[in-house]
């Protein structure tokens, strides 16, 4: 029974995840390279200078815009085509947090991931809490919060990006709207930076954390071992188990 596999991600879901991730990487690297102002460039001038040596300054902007527009169009098609099958269930899942349970999960999981089970149990004792990490649904609370930030970040990036694009290519009124474009740039940067902060954790959990290794493989194969589902996403596992035993 331990080797039985459970379907976790559909082919469509896997495609859009990796397509999205690839676009984000290109957009992040080219976007950072577009900032060449010593007061604003967080990495220092060597970064934009190096990228411009390879792609040319204009090339950088063209790649950034082309990938951004492709990203947006593919997402729009995906969202429309999968509205009820993927999008709504995903949003419903990601935006339902149970405050008590999920707060407890957050605190315990963070302690356990950084200090280990023993230290976590030690800190929980005075609070009258056991060492048991609360059972989680299809996504755990960390994944939900990460997904919320990434979704919001993507939305803000798309909107501010569209405002900038309009500022450059479609704005015919002389200067009336220019403050919009300027604020769009600043907010675009903030959204990219905050989302990148969350992505560091996301990528660590997905690609490096040992206990989430089965989830990593599932982003290719679509399946997780039953054992993993039972341990990491108990509430989801129970649901699936009931469904399958009903049949």
């Amino acid at each position: 029974m331990n080797k039985r596999m459970i379907l976790r991600h559909t082919k469509g879901g896997i495609f859009i995840h990796w397509f999205n991730a690839a676009c984000w990487f290109i957009l992040l690297f080219t976007g950072l390279g577009l900032i060449q102002n010593p007061q604003l460039q967080p990495l220092g001038q060597w970064y934009p200078n190096a990228l411009r040596a390879v792609f040319g300054g204009g090339g950088l902007l063209i790649i950034h815009l082309a990938v951004a527009v492709t990203w947006l169009l593919v997402w729009l098609v995906f969202i429309i085509a999968n509205w009820s099958s993927h999008v709504v269930p995903f949003l419903a899942q990601v935006f339902t947090l149970k405050p008590g349970r999920d707060m407890e999960w957050m605190i315990k999981k963070n302690l356990q991931m950084t200090l280990g089970y023993k230290a976590m149990a030690f800190f929980m004792k005075p609070l009258g809490l056991g060492a048991k990490i609360p059972d989680q649904e299809y996504y755990n609370a960390g994944q939900k919060v990460a997904a919320q930030v990434m979704l919001l970040g993507a939305l803000v990036l798309a909107v501010t990006g569209a405002i900038m694009l309009r500022g450059k290519y479609f704005m015919t009124a002389p200067l009336a709207d220019i403050a919009w474009v300027q604020w769009a740039i600043t907010i675009h940067y903030i959204a990219a930076g905050v989302t990148f902060g969350i992505l560091l954790v996301h990528i660590f959990m997905a690609a490096i954390a040992k206990e989430e290794r089965p989830a990593f493989w599932s982003m290719f194969s679509g399946e997780v071992p039953e054992e993993y589902a039972r341990h990491h996403h108990k509430l989801w596992y129970d649901e699936v188990a009931i469904k399958t035993s009903d049949q």
Binding site: Q39, L175, V181, Q182, G197
Partner: protein
């Protein structure tokens, strides 16, 4: 070739306000309707009463400390080290207009045909063919003179050596302009100050440190998790009432 320091020396009293320089510039540089890369400021009313009337022709001053460059996020606008002009790489300009407010002279405008900032570049296209800027060539009284200040034999260098020249600048925004005026060009205190857009100020003062803090904290968290994973490879729920173990689950 040694670096040039291209500049204009304008003999203000000889300007007739004929606006030939404005027209020539517009044609030479394809400047859109309603926009100008250069100008002729009228004499102030007080001086108008007394003769002679003096005009103050101008254009981008190709400043040595350009506030427009300071305000450009992408580096599209920069000081060309080879000839000292302040230029715009149109392929990199995102049309955000931050340089417009940052120029105290209002020398920049948004070229809505191209979606980019636009300004005088001392006619870079014409200079490639050995021509002077259009406004200089066309000036009937030769009020506008153009050349390389680093070349002691140039007309402009000689003029500056032989005459008292003034520059027109704002007291608060010292941009070190490269247009010099001979004669009495009218008010030399330029009243407009360079202004950094609010969004730009917000970015460098607040957004920059906040984003660095968020990414830094997140990075630290990841390092802590990585360290723990390496230090305690066998970390597992305690046997008693284990973190994941459910009673009755065999």
């Amino acid at each position: 070739m040694a670096n040039q320091k291209l500049a204009m020396v304008i003999d203000a009293p000889t300007c007739l306000d004929c606006k030939g320089c404005l027209a020539a510039c517009k044609v030479a540089n394809n400047v859109p309707d309603g926009k100008w890369r250069n100008w002729i400021k009228g004499a102030d009313p007080e001086r108008r009463a007394s003769s002679p009337v003096v005009f103050q022709p101008g254009n981008c001053m190709q400043c040595d400390k350009p506030t427009c460059v300071e305000a450009c996020p992408t580096g599209a606008t920069y000081k060309n080290q080879a000839d000292g002009t302040v230029v715009i790489n149109r392929t990199l300009c995102i049309g955000c207009g931050q340089c417009l407010a940052a120029c105290p002279y209002g020398a920049r405008f948004k070229n809505t045909d191209l979606g980019v900032a636009d300004k005088c570049d001392f006619c870079a296209e014409r200079r490639k063919f050995g021509l002077e800027p259009a406004c200089v060539s066309t000036c009937p009284t030769k009020s506008r003179k153009f050349g390389d200040l680093n070349d002691a034999n140039s007309e402009v260098a000689k003029l500056l050596k032989a005459n008292r020249a003034v520059r027109v600048a704002n007291e608060q925004t010292r941009t070190d302009p490269n247009i010099y005026y001979l004669g009495e060009p009218g008010p030399t205190n330029w009243t407009v100050q360079a202004r950094m857009p609010e969004a730009f100020d917000f970015w460098r003062r607040l957004a920059d440190p906040v984003v660095k803090a968020v990414v830094g904290l997140s990075g630290l968290g990841v390092l802590a998790m990585l360290g723990k994973q390496l230090a305690m490879p066998k970390d597992a729920p305690p046997a008693d009432g284990g973190a994941h173990e459910e009673a009755g689950h065999e």
